[in-house]
Amino acid sequence: MAALQQITVDALKRSESQLAVQWHADLESSGATRNLKPEDIRQQVADFLRLLTSALEKGGSVNITTAEWDEVRHFLEKLSSQRALAGQDSQQTASFIFALKGPLFAQLQRDLADQPALVAEQVMQISELLDGLGLHTIRTYQKSREAVIKRQQEELLELSTPVVKLWDGVLALPMIGTLDSQRTQVVMESLLQRIVDTGAEIAIIDITGVPTVDTLVAQHLLKTVTAIRLMGADCIISGVRPQIAQTIVHLGLDLQGVVTKANLADALALALRRLGVTITKAV
């Protein structure tokens, strides 16, 4: 594979500032700079050109996985994760690199106007190089986006399992969303820990927000109930909607000795009765 000719590198170096201006203008017109600060873009453009020429001078080939390209790759990784956090999409992020092609090719054509064959060859090489860099940018962009999604998922998991205190000695856990094994684990842990911390005698699990109950969900519920019983507290399941009750019966599920109530109010009333608390209306 033919490397970039020295003449191209020289051309790049000579016209760095010119290229930067042209590149920046192209970025602006393509809309890739939306939501970004102009001075940041200018800085990134200048930094990238500097890193690119220094990598080429160090003898970097078209293969961007070599050590000469380390700095450039790091720069692009940082850049794409910044873009991901700023909410830019992958096209906008990738255009940062691809927009350099236009000005660079134009420059080469001007500089080597008398050698069309060389221009064509060098354009090929540069194109390959910039494509590689662009793809690397997209890959890291994707990675940072995935990290963001993963973090949000974890936060959602934490948020979706609030244990609330209803009364002295009564805890409630309103479950919302589907119950899978991972969530059951988180739910179980947080509920059991709260039981230890508060010394609550009764825990109410409200499943009004659980869309469907199948055998697996029922099994998870039973596990939680058993763990609570082993700890020495009682558990009431509330919010069993008519459809869910029908499903449970149709599936032939055995909720062995689990106390179930139609709604949270009934469950709280039962809990208070067990605690020996009576509520009366003030006349």
């Binding site: 059991l192 039981i195 230890v196 058993t226 019983r229 082993l230 700890m231 020495g232």
Partner: protein
Amino acid sequence: MERIPILQMGDFLLVTIQVDMHDQLALTLQDDLSERISRTSARGVLIDISALDMVDSFIGRMIGMISGLSRIMDAETVLVGMQPAVAITLVELGMTLPGVSTALNVERGMKLLRERAYSQ
């Protein structure tokens, strides 16, 4: 040899497990406890496992067996202070300890024991 102390409080026996249970210790406890129940004709046994933060299936089974043998010897058994991690482990192991009474702490356990033992 290492032993788990069994304390007598009136009609009840109190077993506090403060060390990591290993298999031999559990077997010794089972022997000692059945011996003590028959000697003191205790009405109830309270087993405090609040310091136990790790169980395996053998210890889980021993706990079940200890409470089973106490019941046969006419002594109510209450298991108190199980840690969340222990409860989750036992459930995942499929050991739900049916028939074992549980309570959150020693105080509630004693209350439960008194109710059970004197209501008979």
